[in-house]
C-alpha cells in the first residue's frame, strides 16, 4: 500500500515538468489570439528552458490542432502530440500566426535562447532584444547579464539593457544608459534619445546634457552610414547598368550594329539561369545553391550561339548599312519576346537567390549591404576585366580591333573578317547573356525583361562614346551614382527625368561622348 502510494507520488513528481509544459501548449492552443499574445509576452518575461521546443515549433509554424484543440507538432509527414501521446482526431489544422504573434514569438524565443549553451546563440538573442526588448524583461536581462561570462554577449546584453534603463528611477543608471546609447549609432537609439529630450521628459540636468551629446554622436554615425549606403547603392546601380550595357558596347560600339535585340539577349541569359535552376533542382539538388555559377558558362554559350546564328543568317548581310540593322534586329527582338512568351508563358518565372546570395551584411547599425549586390559589383568588374583581356591580349581581340578600325585593310592583311564579325557578335551576345544571369538575381525574369534595359544600355554606350569600353564603364558608374544622389532629394521619377535632361545637355558639350576618339580624321 505504502509502496504503491510512493510509486504514484513518484510518478506524479516525474510528470510535473511535463505537466508544466503540457499546460503551456494546451493553454496556447485554446487561447484566443489576444490571449495568445498575452501568453507570449508573459513567456518572454519569464522564460522556462523546457518551453523552448514549443516556441521553436510555433515560430516555424509547425504546430497544428485537431478537432479537440489538442496541440500537435508536424513531423515528417505525421503528427506528434506536444503533450502526452494523444492521437489526432480528424486532420489537424495549422495554428494561425499573424505578424503580431510572430514578433512576440521572436522576442520570446530570444529570451529563451539567452539560456542557450552556445554563446553565438546567446549573442544573436541579445542582439534581437536590443531591438525588441520590453520593459517587463528588465529583470530577466539584469539577471542574465550577471550570469554571463562571454564578453561579447555581455556587451550586447548591456546595450539591450541600456535601452530599457532610460526609464530607471536612479539618475545614475539613466546617465550610464544614455552614454552607452551614444556609442551605438543605432537608429533606435536616436529615437529613444529624442523622446527622452522631448517635452522635458528628462528632468535631471546631467542626464539631459549627456543625452544631448549622445544624440549628436548618434546622428553623426547615422549620417555616415547613410552616405556610405548611398555610395554603395550608386555603385551597385552602376554595376548593373554596366552589365546590361557591356554586351551592347561590343555589338553596337565596335561592330556598329544598332542592336535592338540586345535586351532580348539579356532576357535569354536570365531565362537560361531559370532553366539551369530548374534542371539542377531536379538532377542535382545537393548542388542547387551553386546554380548561378553553373548558369554563367551555360548562359554565355547559349546566348553567344544564338548571337552567332543571328549574325550568320541576318546581320552579316547588313554590314555597311547600319541603320537597317535597326529594322532587322527590331524584328528579331519581337520574335524572341513572343517565342519566350509562348514557351514559358507571359508571367514572370521564379529565379530564387541561393542562400549565399540572400540576405546582407550588417556593416553599420543602419547599413546592410545585400550579398547579391556585392557579388554583382565584383562580377561586373570581373566581366570588364575579362573583356578587356580578350580584346587587348588575344589574337581574336587584335583581329576584332583591326576589323572595326579598318575592315578593308584588315582583310588585305589576311584577317578573315567574316569569321571575326561572327565571333565578335557572339562575344557581345555572350556577355549580354552573362549580364542576364546577374540581372536575374536582383529583378524579375519575364519576357519583357530586356525592354526595360535597352534604353539605359544605349544611353550608357552613347554617353561613354561609341566604341570606347572605358567610356561605357565610366558612363555606367557615373549614371548610377548621379541617379542615387538625385533620388533621395527629388524622388525617383523627377530624378530619372533630370538624369535624362542632364544626358542631353552633356552630349551638347561633348558630342562624341565621354571618351571621344581624338584625331583629325574627317569623313
Amino acid at each position: 500500500m505504502n509502496t504503491a502510494l510512493h510509486r504514484i507520488l513518484l510518478l506524479l513528481l516525474l510528470a510535473l515538468p511535463w505537466a508544466a509544459q503540457a499546460g503551456d501548449a494546451t493553454d496556447y492552443a485554446h487561447a484566443s489570439p489576444a490571449r495568445q499574445a498575452k501568453l507570449l509576452e508573459h513567456w518572454a518575461a519569464a522564460p522556462a528552458p523546457e518551453r523552448l521546443p514549443l516556441i521553436e515549433a510555433l515560430r516555424a509554424n509547425r504546430v497544428a490542432i485537431d478537432q479537440d484543440k489538442t496541440p500537435f507538432i508536424e513531423e515528417a509527414g505525421g503528427y506528434r502530440a506536444l503533450e502526452g501521446d494523444a492521437e489526432p482526431v480528424g486532420t489537424p489544422k495549422k495554428l494561425r500566426l499573424n505578424n503580431r504573434l510572430r514578433g512576440l514569438l521572436n522576442t520570446a524565443l530570444a529570451s529563451h535562447q539567452l539560456f542557450a549553451d552556445d554563446p553565438a546563440q546567446r549573442l544573436s538573442a541579445a542582439k534581437r532584444l536590443q531591438r525588441s526588448g520590453k520593459p517587463e524583461q528588465l529583470a530577466l536581462l539584469e539577471q542574465r547579464l550577471e550570469a554571463e561570462d562571454d564578453p561579447a554577449v555581455s556587451e550586447a546584453l548591456t546595450l539591450a539593457l541600456a535601452n530599457l534603463q532610460l526609464d530607471a528611477a536612479d539618475p545614475a543608471v539613466r546617465l550610464a544608459a544614455v552614454r552607452l546609447l551614444g556609442e551605438t549609432g543605432a537608429p533606435m537609439a536616436r529615437v529613444r534619445l529624442e523622446n527622452l529630450l522631448a517635452d522635458e521628459a528628462e528632468t535631471d540636468a546631467a542626464v539631459r546634457k549627456a543625452a544631448e551629446t549622445s544624440l549628436a554622436q548618434v546622428k553623426r554615425k547615422l549620417l555616415f552610414g547613410e552616405l556610405l549606403g548611398q555610395a554603395f547603392s550608386g555603385l551597385s546601380l552602376g554595376s548593373i547598368l554596366l552589365l546590361a550595357a557591356l554586351g551592347l558596347a561590343i555589338t553596337f560600339g565596335l561592330l556598329g550594329v544598332i542592336n535592338m535585340a540586345h535586351g532580348e539577349m539579356l532576357m535569354l541569359g536570365a531565362y537560361t539561369t531559370y532553366m539551369v535552376q530548374v534542371l539542377m533542382a531536379r538532377l542535382a539538388p545537393e548542388a542547387l545553391a551553386f546554380y548561378p555559377l553553373v548558369a554563367l558558362p551555360v548562359a554565355f554559350f547559349v546566348t553567344a550561339a544564338i548571337g552567332m546564328a543571328l549574325e550568320r543568317t541576318v546581320i552579316r548581310h547588313l554590314y555597311g548599312r547600319p541603320l537597317e540593322t535597326l529594322l532587322a534586329t527590331w524584328g528579331i527582338s519581337l520574335i524572341l519576346i513572343q517565342a519566350v512568351r509562348v514557351l514559358f508563358g507571359a508571367q514572370n518565372v521564379e529565379v530564387a537567390n541561393p542562400g549565399w546570395l540572400s540576405g546582407g551584411l550588417q556593416v553599420l547599425p543602419n547599413l546592410v549591404l545585400p550579398y547579391n549586390r556585392m557579388v554583382i559589383i565584383g562580377f561586373a568588374l570581373f566581366v570588364v576585366l575579362l573583356t578587356w583581356l580578350l580584346l587587348n591580349k588575344t589574337r581574336l581581340g587584335l583581329n576584332v580591333r583591326a576589323v572595326t578600325q579598318n575592315r578593308n585593310m584588315a582583310a588585305c592583311c589576311g584577317v578573315p573578317t567574316g569569321r571575326i564579325d561572327m565571333l565578335a557578335f557572339g562575344l557581345g551576345s555572350g556577355i549580354a547573356g552573362l549580364g542576364g544571369v546577374a540581372l536575374s538575381q536582383i529583378g524579375n525574369v519575364g519576357p519583357d525583361l530586356g525592354q526595360g534595359y535597352i534604353i539605359d544600355s544605349f544611353l550608357v554606350v552613347v554617353l561613354g562614346g561609341v566604341g570606347q569600353l572605358a567610356g561605357s564603364i565610366f558612363a555606367a558608374f557615373g549614371l548610377g551614382i548621379a541617379n542615387k544622389i538625385l533620388e533621395p532629394q527629388i524622388g525617383a521619377v523627377l530624378g530619372k527625368i533630370l538624369i535624362l535632361a542632364l544626358i542631353i545637355l552633356f552630349i551638347q558639350k561633348r558630342p562624341q561622348g565621354l571618351f571621344a576618339l581624338k584625331g583629325r580624321v574627317i569623313d
Binding site: 489570439p33 499574445a37 494561425r96 500566426l97 499573424n98 505578424n99 503580431r100 510572430r102 514578433g103 521572436n106 537608429p187 533606435m188 536616436r190 529615437v191 547613410e226 548611398q230 554603395f232 547603392s233 551597385s236 546601380l237 548593373i240 519576346i337 513572343q338 512568351r341 514557351l343 514559358f344 508563358g345 507571359a346 508571367q347 514572370n348 518565372v349 521564379e350 529565379v351 530564387a352 537567390n353 540572400s358 540576405g359 546582407g360 550588417q362 543602419n366 546592410v368 545585400p370 550579398y371 547579391n372 549586390r373 536582383i442 529583378g443 524579375n444 519575364g446 519576357p447 519583357d448 525592354q451 526595360g452 541617379n483 542615387k484 533621395p488 524622388g491 525617383a492 521619377v493 530619372k496
Partner: protein, 422 residues
C-alpha cells in the same frame, strides 16, 4: 513596263490597307458571340493572358451545360497588344463587326477609359474584372473587381488593429500613375480621419518599370524607427519582384514592417521566391487558398483546363482574384441573359441588377441593384512559403462598393447609380 509599278504598288498598298478592315466574319446563326478583350502581347500580357484563358474556360463550362438560351457561346478573342488606342479600335470592332453580345476585358484603368466612349456610343456591355480606383460609373460597364472601399480601406484598418500590428506610421509606396495616386489620396484622407498625424504618412512614387529599390527600402527602414510602421504598396506588376527581393536582402522582415500590397496576387508570386516574404500581406476579395467546395471545384477545373490546353507553366497553374472576378462576371451575365430571355443590352442590364452567384470566394455575391458593382467580401492574406496566401482576416459579410469614395471631396454630390457621361 516601266510605268506600271508605281501604280501597282499604290493599288497593292491600298488593297493591303483595306484588307485589314474586313476581317473574317464567318457567323453561325445559332451561337452567341462573346468578345474577349485582353492584351496577349506587350507589357500587360503578363497579367491579362490568364484572364483570357479563364474566360475561355468559363465559356467552355457554360457551353458544356448547354449554353445560354439554348445557344452555344462563341468567344471572339482579339489582342489589343497593351496599346490603349488599339483597345478602343478593337472594342469598336467587336461591337460593330463581330456584333458581340457582351465583352469581357481590360485590366488597366486607361484601357477601360479608352474603350468606354465606344461602349457608351454603341451601347455595348463590358465586364471589367480588376480592382481599380473608382471614380467612374458607366451604365455600359459592370465592375466585378473591387472599388477602393472593398480593398484598400479594410486593409489599412487591419494594419491599425492589434492583430495587424497596431501600425501608427504609414509608408504609401506606389508606381506613379492614376490608381496608386488615387488610392493613396483616399487612404491619406481616411488615415487623417482616424487621427493619424500628417507627419506619420509618407507617400513615395517610382516610375513605371522601376527596378532599383535600394534607396526606397533604406528610406522605409529609416521611417520605421519612428514607431510601428506598415508599408502600403500599390507598386505595379513588374516592379514588385525587385522590390520584394531588395526588402528581403536588406533584412526588413514582415514582423518589423509588414507590407500590404493591392496588386500582388498568386500569379505575381509565381515569379518570386516567397520564403523570405512570409508574413507580408495582400488584400483581395478572393484567394486560391480559401476553403469551400465551390472553390475546390473552381481551382480543380482551372488546373485541369491549364493542363488540357497545354498552357505554359500548367503544372504550377494558380487562380487569383481577377480570374475569379472574370469567372463570376461571365456566369452572372449568362444568368441575366437567361432571366431576360434575350441578349439585348438594355434588358440584360436590368436583369443583372440584384443577380446573385455562389462564388469561389465562399460567399454568395450580389450585383448591386443600382451601382453596377459587386458586393464583395474583403480578405487579408499572408504570404506563405508555398506562394499561396493564408487568410488572416476577412469581413463578416460582403461589402457594398463605393465607386465614389466619400474620402474625396465633391463625391458626395455624385449619384450612386450609373449615368452616361455624355
Amino acid at each position: 513596263m516601266k510605268r506600271r509599278p508605281l501604280l501597282k504598288s499604290t493599288l497593292a498598298a491600298s488593297a493591303l490597307m483595306l484588307s485589314g478592315l474586313f476581317p473574317f466574319t464567318l457567323q453561325a446563326a445559332e451561337t452567341i458571340k462573346v468578345g474577349i478583350l485582353h492584351s496577349l502581347s506587350g507589357t500587360m500580357a503578363i497579367s491579362e493572358t490568364s484572364l483570357k484563358d479563364m474566360a475561355l474556360m468559363t465559356i467552355d463550362e457554360i457551353n458544356a451545360k448547354g449554353g445560354v438560351l439554348g445557344k452555344q457561346l462563341e468567344p471572339v478573342v482579339v489582342d489589343p497588344a497593351s496599346n490603349w488606342p488599339l483597345f478602343a479600335e478593337k472594342g469598336r470592332q467587336l461591337l460593330t463587326q463581330d456584333k458581340v453580345a457582351v465583352t469581357f476585358g481590360c485590366w488597366t484603368s486607361v484601357s477601360r477609359k479608352s474603350v468606354l466612349p465606344v461602349y457608351e456610343e454603341l451601347d455595348g456591355l463590358l465586364f471589367y474584372p480588376v480592382q481599380y480606383e473608382g471614380e467612374e460609373l458607366s451604365p455600359n460597364v459592370f465592375y466585378t473587381g473591387a472599388a477602393p472601399n472593398q480593398q484598400a480601406i479594410p486593409a489599412v484598418e487591419y494594419l491599425m488593429s492589434e492583430d495587424g500590428g497596431s501600425a501608427e506610421r504609414f509608408f504609401l509606396l506606389g508606381t506613379d500613375y492614376v490608381y496608386p495616386r488615387t488610392t493613396n489620396k483616399i487612404l491619406r484622407a481616411f488615415l487623417i480621419s482616424k487621427g493619424v498625424p500628417e507627419a506619420n504618412i509618407e507617400e513615395v512614387y517610382t516610375p513605371f518599370g522601376h527596378s532599383d529599390y535600394q534607396t526606397i527600402v533604406a528610406n522605409i527602414k529609416k521611417f520605421s524607427t519612428g514607431g510601428k510602421t506598415a508599408v502600403v504598396s500599390t507598386i505595379n506588376g513588374d516592379s514588385n519582384v525587385p522590390f520584394y527581393k531588395e526588402l528581403a536582402n536588406q533584412g526588413l522582415e514582415a514582423t518589423d514592417v509588414p507590407v500590404v500590397a493591392f496588386s500582388v496576387g498568386e500569379e505575381e508570386l509565381r515569379g518570386i521566391d516567397t520564403k523570405p516574404l512570409v508574413g507580408h500581406l495582400a488584400a483581395w476579395n478572393y484567394f486560391q487558398s480559401v476553403e469551400n467546395p465551390v472553390n475546390e471545384q473552381f481551382v480543380g477545373k482551372w488546373k485541369a483546363y491549364a493542363k488540357a490546353k497545354g498552357l505554359p507553366g500548367a503544372d504550377k497553374a494558380v487562380t487569383n482574384d481577377p480570374m475569379e472576378a472574370t469567372y463570376v462576371g461571365i456566369h452572372m451575365w449568362a444568368q441575366a441573359v437567361e432571366k431576360a430571355g434575350t441578349t439585348d443590352v438594355g434588358k440584360v442590364r436590368d436583369a443583372l441588377a440584384g443577380q446573385t452567384f455562389e462564388a469561389p470566394s465562399g460567399y454568395t455575391l450580389t450585383m448591386d441593384k443600382t451601382n453596377h458593382h459587386l458586393h464583395k467580401p474583403v480578405m487579408i492574406g499572408e504570404v506563405q512559403e508555398d506562394g499561396q496566401f493564408s487568410v488572416v482576416w476577412e469581413t463578416e459579410s460582403p461589402v457594398r462598393a463605393q465607386p465614389w469614395s466619400p474620402y474625396i471631396p465633391g463625391n458626395d454630390k455624385k449619384p450612386d447609380y450609373a449615368v452616361k457621361s455624355n
